[in-house]
Subunit: 541 residues, 2 copies
């Protein structure tokens, strides 16, 4: 039997969590474009495209589910001349499913209910959904197509079941979030599954930022040998089609795979842009200290939003060096961002005088350093209130891990772009950015890190060098290793113990920190749920 | 066959999450006391007593599980002359179970794996555990005893399975958190199950505060007719025994059931006491404004920790009335708490001058109100840093719902005791407390609520009266009702819409707020997981 080639469009689009009407508008527009411009027979959207991912507890609202159903009805009425596979929550007899709906010719011709619900890491799907219990295959232009949703394709045995129903190829709808290197892992697993089954596979991923998560796209098609024959770009919307001749995919564009540092940089830009725009802010502001962290955040913000939408604020104190002011100004100017200078001394002195009667015996130290940081927080929040701009915090993951940050001070802000970026990666990203065009003064990259909250203060007075700290943190926070295991890898026992104690003790600070953009395998936030109140001490610690 | 009566001890104890060694010490001490003083044959501990509940992501650490196993070994070696049923995580062949272990005569004579894992509300058990797949019954002194763990007993059909194995009574290990009225619901379900099966049942619950949760105890025994014959008190540790003669429980003490307002008050006290003590703080401090919210928090703190461990700080501004200062002083004195007075004007003026060049066109309003609140935050945090005392915030649930609070200002603090207490309940609790002994000046209870951040400002200028606001919030936040449903109950449409918009818009503030004590059916925190970035608007809104 000779069949017409089947053309499948991959709709790698950016949806808005909860934006049911606008998401449906996008689905309909993409379906029309795929039909008219790409001559596609079928278009595949990501997992839960209709609601955005993850909708979280909105799924508990009956009105939200009713509104979702109304939009599904809109799809049924409006789709014409193309088959559409779209991810949506499906409420049936008191149970909610994470489904792939197949709509064609004014009706729902098939539906598949996700069978494996991830409930680890950032995922809470068992909180909302019931697992489906059967495989599903549908017909399109004489081809038998099997469906899976995200986590399903990572499981063994599931494709064999679909194949048992006669599937000739697999479509998979995904909302697979980014972390460094994830795309390699993802393609490796999926291509192995395709090869084992001897079936071609169409993998459609979401793109866009949603609170802590960035979905990176990089949708792809693999042939029956598990070779990738088409790959959409990372971090941007893409609507493309691949034709299958007698079930064999014809090669298409091949966007490059994940590239270290540049992919992280793109993820951070997309995360900032979507948080700002989807929440309707009129741009951002940040405190620019002359140090590397705020330098990187400024560069990211300008690259994400354009210089016109970014304002920097320099807030020197008696401990701020001339070098810091010069470098901060130079950087703002190089990036074309407006900046203001507001010295904090009058407020710091006012607090010192006000607190003197009560804290007669105060020794300065942390109390006084925190007051400085919090005066800056007040200034930045006042400007944020007045300008309607989102305040970005500039703290990195190394600081957030050990609590080297002031709650309500430098931690004040609505979004924390580099909270999941370890300090050493901050340097790499800054160098990467300077490689595109020089915007961060070289001195910012080479001077020893300092919080400038006390005379001649350097990070390394209170913390181990970042070359030691970062690898310990990765092992303890991201890989759950014990003190004993980390020490066995050659790290000094006293340093390891001190770092672990600091991480444990600062859970309360992290609990009140703004959301970040997840770029590692385990970010602080939904991804890592620790009790604040805990009597646990690693016995080897 | 005539058997000796079986005496079962109910160990309603307060465990420390992660405190593996101290928890095991407590288990051993209670087992010895039950054997020697209560002449018990068997002692039953709560769910996950060994680790405390909930251990959250500590369960992902291999070292934590290994340390847990070491403590289980200690139990096996040390327990003598009594059988012990204790809740603990059990790692077996790469899978983790939420188990009830039965230890006697130096060995583990039985183990049961929880079959129904709650993954809703505050619970994330599917994140950690594998569900068990079979019922279990063990022998003790010639009696056949069936086991269940918490959620199991809320399910239908499970007791019948246990009965099928010959169980004559059911033991259930629990970590069932408090909310108002929960104990009625709990006893109703459990007694119905006992009656349906015609089996007596021993229900042992945890007590104590753990971050957002308070476990209220109120362990009980029901006979085969579903009548409660013994009940331990709420909110305190209790070790008691009930004898079963030929399987029929002999009546014991019957502590009273949940009493409205007084139970909430006790829950709040226990929550504060455990958060402060388990985290090792040297007492607490709070800002005392002369208003009802901080008045209640002061009373709760003094009742929880003793007046010596509580310090109040009055921070008047130009908008603070004489009445507020007088009432705050009177209250601190009535409760015997030390207080300091630190006016905020110098700092407020310093910020006004510093910001003037940048905010030349500032209209005051929210920006200026927030600066005042944040100056107070800085003062309180400086004192917290210096004294090593935990700062309590004083905001209530009504404010937190609609964002009537300043991030980093009055929201600054490590713990938010009344964040889950709606404003009307704040009044009820204050009146209840004054009924015990008069500590809150009557004027505080009767004056119109005001934030005193602007001249002649009252809450009701910006918010609907609390008599309207609180019921709308309960329907929208706790019961997931739509605008349409709420309006249909007789609330003004424009008010409902405004309230809903405020709730939706302020998710970002709540995300950075300190943990509270959950006393309603849905608290802000782990219990309610909303996206910050959300395009959802209730269509009926």
């Amino acid at each position: 039997m000779t069949r017409k080639p089947l053309t499948i469009a991959l709709a790698q689009l950016n949806f808005h969590v909860g934006g049911l009407t606008e998401n449906t508008d996008r689905i309909l527009a993409a379906a029309s474009r795929a039909r008219d411009e790409l001559k596609a027979d079928l278009i595949v959207f990501p997992e839960l495209a209709l609601t955005g991912y993850p909708p979280e507890d909105l799924l508990f609202r009956p009105a939200f589910l009713a509104d979702t159903d109304k939009q599904i009805q809109r799809l049924l009425e409006a789709i014409d001349g193309i088959a559409v596979v779209v991810g949506a929550p499906e409420f049936d007899q008191g149970r909610l499913y994470n489904s792939a709906l197949v709509v064609a010719e004014g009706r729902m011709i098939a539906r598949y209910r996700k069978r494996h619900l991830p409930n680890y890491g950032v995922f809470d799907e068992a909180r909302y959904f019931q697992a489906g219990d059967s495989p599903m295959v549908f017909d399109c232009q004489g081809y038998r197509l099997g469906l899976t949703v995200c986590e399903d394709i990572w499981q063994e045995g599931l494709i064999a079941e679909i194949q048992g129903l006669g599937a000739e190829m697999i479509l998979t709808l995904n909302a697979s979030p980014f972390h460094a290197g994830k795309i390699h892992q993802r393609e490796h697993i999926v291509c192995r599954q395709a090869k084992a089954a001897g079936l071609p596979l169409v993998y459609v991923n979401l793109i866009g930022g949603q609170d802590e998560l960035v979905f990176d796209g990089a949708s792809f098609v693999t042939d029956a040998q598990g070779e990738v024959v088409f790959r959409a770009p990372e971090f941007e919307e893409n609507l493309a089609a691949v034709s299958f001749d007698q079930g064999k995919p014809l090669a298409g564009a091949l966007s490059p795979l994940y590239r270290e540092v540049s992919s992280e940089y793109q993820a951070l830009i997309l995360g900032i842009r979507d948080y700002v725009n989807k929440n309707g802010f009129r741009g951002v502001l940040l405190g620019l200290s002359g140090g590397i962290d705020s330098a990187l955040v400024l560069a990211l913000a300008v690259d994400a939003l354009g210089a016109d939408n970014v304002r920097a604020v320099l807030m020197p104190s008696r401990y701020t060096s001339e070098m810091s002011i010069e470098d901060a100004k130079a950087q703002a100017e190089a990036m074309g961002a407006a900046y203001d200078i507001i010295g904090i001394e009058p407020a710091v002195e006012a607090f010192a005088a006000m607190l003197k009667p009560v804290l007669a015996d105060a020794k300065g130290g942390v109390t006084s350093e925190n007051i400085q940081a919090r005066c800056r927080g007040i200034i930045l929040m006042a400007l944020s209130n007045q300008w309607g701009k989102l305040l970005l915090t500039t703290g990195n993951k190394s600081e957030m891990s050990v609590g080297y940050a002031t709650l309500y001070g430098d931690m004040a802000g609505g979004f924390a772009p580099i909270k999941d970026v370890p300090k050493l990666l901050v340097y790499q990203l800054a160098r990467y950015r300077n490689g595109l065009s020089s915007v961060i003064p070289e001195r910012v990259l080479t001077r020893p890190p300092t919080a400038e909250l006390a005379p001649d203060q350097f990070d390394q007075d209170s913390l181990p060098p970042y070359e030691i700290l970062d690898p310990i943190l990765e092992r303890y926070v991201e890989r759950d290793q014990s003190a004993e295991e980390i020490i066995a890898q050659g790290f000094a026992a006293d340093v390891v113990r001190r770092v672990i104690t600091l991480v444990d003790r600062n859970e309360y600070k992290r609990r009140q920190s703004p959301p970040c953009i997840r770029i590692t395998e385990r970010a602080f936030g939904r991804d890592r749920r620790y009790p604040i109140t805990s009597g646990y001490r690693d016995e080897t610690c």
